[in-house]
């Protein structure tokens, strides 16, 4: 009876940040890579324990800012010196000091959009459904509990040994099996 295909992973629940940090460290030392921790707030050091390296987001924002500023420079230069020139207060056509505010604002705007949309894209959001939501206790991950989930996709994953490994980390309650599909039945009304 191989139910491994219908299982997304195995999950353990913890009560404190200290426990989740220790558990994640142990799991990584044991060789697990395809895993994730779920916490109600960003716990310092946890992403590093999961093996995450520096995010490309600052570079994305820099590029966004440069694009925005560049658009501002080009738009004003083209319109005011090439397309429709006119003498405003005796200023030269390429009155660049007067162009600075718009360039700056567009730089900030596109940079901010890059930060927000870049974060969403890198996180894969919006992601309306995910197998972890099939676990009823998981609703507390956004409130006061910490979860470690080792995914079945990990090469070292084995239903039996991974469950024993997680149980040895002293989670709160039993090790939880995360089904890939949500179970049929009445949802909470």
């Amino acid at each position: 009876m191989n139910t491994q295909a219908s299982v997304y992973g195995l999950m353990a629940e913890f009560l404190t940040a200290q426990e989740i940090l220790a558990a994640t460290r142990s799991a990584r030392q044991a060789g697990y890579r395809a895993m994730d921790a779920y916490t109600p707030y960003p716990v310092e050091g946890l992403a590093a324990e999961l093996g995450m390296r520096k995010s490309p987001l600052p570079f994305v924002v820099l590029m966004g800012g440069l694009v925005g500023g560049g658009v501002g420079v080009f738009m004003q230069y083209y319109s005011m010196t090439i397309n429709y020139t006119f003498n405003a207060g005796g200023r030269p056509y390429n009155s660049w000091p007067a162009f600075v505010p718009v360039v700056f604002e567009l730089l900030i705007l596109v940079g901010a959009l890059a930060a927000f949309l870049g974060m969403m894209f890198l996180n894969g959001l919006p992601h309306p459904h995910h197998p972890v939501f099939n676990v009823p206790q998981f609703a507390r991950s956004s409130q006061d509990r910490f979860f470690l989930c080792i995914e079945a996709a990990d090469p070292q994953f084995d239903r039996q040994t991974t469950a024993e490994f997680l149980a040895a980390l002293h989670p709160h309650g039993e090790v939880i099996e995360v089904p890939r599909e949500s179970s049929p039945g009445p949802t909470v009304a």
Partner: protein, 470 residues
């Protein structure tokens, strides 16, 4: 060392264990109770008569606003009291006042985030919401004050067949870009910060439709530690971008005046002077919003007296900055020896029967009244804070009004001099906009997470493993 020794120079920072410096952490709370408290405000707390009464009153103002705006769009800006020479009055006063109020929200969110100030956590959601609604109110006025509002889209560079471009060299167009950017960035910052809390509300909702709505807004956020890392990075980056934005937006707004040649407008001091004034009025509004919220929603452990105390200190500091601005303006106008500029400032101070009463009232409200905040016991009394905040808001409105109308009333040619009298439509649109702000804010308080739950959780002791706190 006696606890009563005043720490005048702050040489040695006392550790939190001394009990001298507040740590701004909600006392007696843990992860569950923080969540329980804030989400119960949305889910289990009944919509009381108080909220309904305030909402009803603000909707009356909204209806007045809609009526007045409809009449304005139908009949044109002549229904206001504006004439030559006073072609700007209530419209631009309201615009600058509202935008100024919005600035404190971004300062609290972005600037204090970069400075790692923990006290921003309880108030940043409220302050950001205040900014969004204030900028919404502000943005309406430039559109309404147009002679031909149906051409409003000409302000933006859109592809057209008329070779039409905005006048990029004009401060009024810089305004368009600055305010649009400010609104968009503030909205993203506010919404992005709310995503984890919306996920909490989604997970706690019992009604299926409510859960679907919050779930849609939460975008499937599942609190993954990998997501949190990118989220925090994006939050810091947005904070870093929003901080210069705060300075630049009000500097650009002040450039509406500073880039002109009108006497007492053509001042290089305007950008820092206006930014200081904006933060001043903004913090007064934040205090004014926080005091009833902490009282009626019983959030005293989250928005503590220490939070109000530090905000009051900022009000005092910006009051001193703004007062220095007044002093430098007045003295330099005399020092320059320029007849027209000197006369304009003289007229502001001594033209009783014209605008001098407004000038001296605003000096009282902005310079004299906030000085009471030097006294520590009074600074920590909510009644004092509310009164001072109201006076500051009134004073800042009068300041914008004074700057605009006095300079326009009597500029270079005495034959063009005039006096501005507001009409009922000026007042209707102004108070109506206050109603729009209040109605939007009340709705926010009813359905949105009013405090940042995820950030508050991160402040609790033991939140980050072996090391206590940050």
């Amino acid at each position: 060392m006696a606890a009563s020794t005043p720490q005048l120079w702050n040489e040695a920072q006392p550790s939190p264990a001394d009990g001298e410096r507040p740590d701004y952490v909600p006392a007696g709370h843990d992860l569950s109770s923080v969540t329980e408290k804030i989400s119960s405000l949305v889910f289990t707390r009944p919509t009381g008569l108080g909220w309904l009464g305030c909402f009803g009153f603000s909707n009356v103002l909204v209806l007045i606003f809609l009526g007045a705006v409809s009449y304005l769009l139908l009949m044109g800006v002549g229904i206001w009291g504006i004439q030559i020479p006073n072609c700007w009055a209530f419209d631009i006063t309201n615009f600058v006042w509202w935008i100024g109020i919005g600035h404190a929200g971004t300062l609290i969110s972005a600037f204090l985030l970069l400075m790692h100030q923990k006290w921003r956590t309880s108030i940043n959601r409220i302050a950001e919401a205040m900014t969004i609604f204030a900028v919404m109110c502000a943005g309406m006025f430039p559109l309404l004050h147009m002679g031909r509002p149906w051409f409003f889209y000409w302000l933006m560079p859109y592809s057209n067949t008329m070779s039409l471009w905005p006048q990029f060299r004009s401060a009024l167009i810089w305004d368009v870009f600055a305010v649009s950017t400010y609104f968009t960035v503030s909205l993203m910052f506010w919404y992005m910060g709310m995503i984890p809390d919306l996920a909490t509300l989604r997970d706690r909702a019992t009604n299926r439709l409510v859960r679907i709505v919050y779930g849609a807004l939460a975008l499937g956020w599942r609190n993954s530690a990998r997501h949190w890392q990118r989220f925090e990075m994006a939050y810091l980056l947005l904070g870093g971008l929003a901080t210069p934005l705060v300075i630049s937006v009000h500097s650009v707004v002040s450039a509406d005046f500073a880039t002109s040649v009108v006497p007492a407008w053509h001042e290089t001091v305007f950008p820092p002077y206006f930014v200081a004034g904006a933060i001043f009025s903004g913090f007064a509004m934040v205090i004014l919003l926080c005091v009833p919220i902490r009282h009626f929603y019983h959030l005293e452990e989250f928005i503590t007296i220490d939070h109000l105390d530090v905000m009051a200190k900022l009000v005092l500091a910006t009051s001193l900055l703004t007062s220095y601005g007044y002093l430098s303006e007045q003295s330099l106008s005399w020092y320059t020896g320029d007849v027209v500029e000197g006369y304009t400032y003289w007229f502001r101070l001594t033209g009783f029967g014209q605008y001098a009463l407004i000038t001296w009232t605003l000096f009282f409200c902005n310079t004299i009244a906030p000085q009471i905040l030097w006294i520590r016991p009074l600074r920590r009394k909510q009644s004092v804070l509310v009164i001072v905040s109201l006076l500051v808001l009134v004073g800042m409105w009068l300041e914008r009004y004074m700057i605009i109308t006095t300079s326009l009333s009597r500029d270079f040619l005495p034959s063009s001099w005039g006096f501005f009298t507001p009409t009922i439509w000026d007042l209707a649109i102004y108070f109506g906009s206050v109603g729009v702000f209040l109605a939007a804010f009340l709705l926010f308080a009813r359905v949105a997470p009013i405090l940042s739950m995820s950030e508050t959780r991160a402040l609790l002791p033991g939140a980050h493993g072996p090391e206590v706190g940050r």
